[in-house]
Symmetry: C2
Subunit: 366 residues, 2 copies
Amino acid sequence: MSTTPQATPRRATITDVAREAGTGKTSISRYLNGEMSVLSPELRARIEAAIARLDYQPNQMARGLKRGRNRLIGMLLADLTNPYTVEVLQGVEAACHALGLMPLICHAANEVEMERRYLQLLTTYRVEGVIVNALGVREETLRPVGGGGIPAVLVDRLVDGLVADMVGLDNRAAAELGTRHLLDNGFDDIWFVVQPFEQVSSRQLREAAFREAMRAHAGRAGTRGEKAAARGHTLVLNLADAGEVERSLAELDRAIDAAAHAREAAGATGKAARVALFAANAPVALRLALHLKARYGADWQARAALLSIDDPDWAELTGVTTIRQPTYEIGYRAVEFLHERIEGVQTTARDCLLPGELIVRASTLR
Amino acid sequence: MSTTPQATPRRATITDVAREAGTGKTSISRYLNGEMSVLSPELRARIEAAIARLDYQPNQMARGLKRGRNRLIGMLLADLTNPYTVEVLQGVEAACHALGLMPLICHAANEVEMERRYLQLLTTYRVEGVIVNALGVREETLRPVGGGGIPAVLVDRLVDGLVADMVGLDNRAAAELGTRHLLDNGFDDIWFVVQPFEQVSSRQLREAAFREAMRAHAGRAGTRGEKAAARGHTLVLNLADAGEVERSLAELDRAIDAAAHAREAAGATGKAARVALFAANAPVALRLALHLKARYGADWQARAALLSIDDPDWAELTGVTTIRQPTYEIGYRAVEFLHERIEGVQTTARDCLLPGELIVRASTLR
DNA sequence: CTGTTAGCGCGTTCAC
DNA sequence: GTGAACGCGCTAACAG
């Protein structure tokens, strides 16, 4: 056995097979495309033998060139670091597998310029469609895609001015579900923490639904006069900017400390505010948890409850309540949508909103 | 603005551009390939204009067909669920980007059959090389690759009988580093917990190095007669089989409980064994942590120390000591190796072993 | 049932 | 400098 990896020998082509089988290329092509009814059993056997002998495998590139479709689709990912993305990817892989598609995965790593370049690259490979988990930037970046270009399906978030199918979480319902859970469990000082959301529709929707739910609750409380209205705050945590993160966290710290003081003053049975943090997604939740742990030590959960949209594996470990997204299904459905478009479906742009599942853990039960 | 995504209009070809620019295809091709010195400035300008007007983008497929190389490489992943994999992927993406390669990501999801099919699919797309984070099965699965087939680079683990470059963690050094750390911190009942390792070289090496380090320590202790030899155990945790997992964890529980009883009997100052768990990778560590937490509650770390190879994001949060792999670099180097092979480098198969970094956290400091 | 022919979009001689 | 012609591996008419 040699220890030197060898150079690739030339692969057999359809012509080689035809010669080896003593026939023409057409018959081979037919065999490859499963048109068995048009081949004599005898010829078929010869072809099979020749293919096996030469270890022949059809060249998808040439195939694609000829028939104008190569079964390639692009998958543009904003951030692989987010477990959400990886989970969606699983669904995408599975669906592609089932539908005979091959996904080209591109990771923009939160860089707009990367996103642009990858998109261009994908069109260059003539992918038949694209699934986009966009960074949420301007529509012009996605020019080659959607409306006038190749079919596209958006995942998790919309892109302004881009007409395309979308599949993702039912953000309104999810944020309301979480907020209600916190209110029902007696938290009356709730901080919705979210990354900058001007550009990202899903974050916008979550934040808006949170405020809406708080307002609705205040309305009910006011009418029935049962208790003081709970307070809701939105805190922006720009994970891309360490300085901003520091400032935001400092604001949070003050609120938490204030609540702690109030609690002491009121005594164990007092009516002090109970603080809860509602993280808009897993990366935010992780950042919050790390900060609280660094500041308050192992017992940080006694200071503030944490609820997160997304269900990272460490949530179970730390007892954090979450709202699980149907990530696998999101990925799967996205591919199905795209496949339909590729096959020529012409309906108006569709939205597929899937429900989240509340997973209650110790963090929000006191 | 229409709300109906439109079908793809035919894309411009090189012929269209030639006609639009009033010239032949050859000149366009030369322009695309940067042979500017052979084009009159005037023609060049016309070509540029035509390309812009038609929004022309060369077809990589046709290109690849003609020149016999398409700049595609395959990336075969055993398990995206493992954060290690995702991190390696980041390095791969970056290197591909830098080298003008396009990675086709394939996720085998721990299924051997998937691995085989994807490999076949990749050759069908005529990828110029493959990076393989194999499931660690028989070499025959990887027949089309390595030695006689297309260039391949192995990541993290070797495959029996497959001659190819490899890049991964220096497993011997890492396992020894971890073991020594535990011994130095007074743990004398150490359980190395690992998934079935007959098929996976990296797990084998880690386990062997662990036992070796324990033996070496026993030798030193014996010679100097300072203290009783520490005990080392290897526990196999087959994450794919819930029943086996239960049994293995039960064994662990007995050991932990025994140590606790001994501790009580000996009193706070006694010489009872200190139990430490050395997880061979992050999935194992997570499983262990979840189990311990379920069994002993939030204070599970008082029962046993946990040290893991791999540094998942929850390690910092829970204070678990880890040995961080240089994952990004592993991915990057793998692509570099592959690129060299693609360019024709013919040296004997190389191994690139990168060092792990010990990150000490509260878990192993008592 | 089977083989021949003509491109798919592009790169590459090789003449002009 | 420039363009016509050929072929990459394959499929799709079109004949036989």
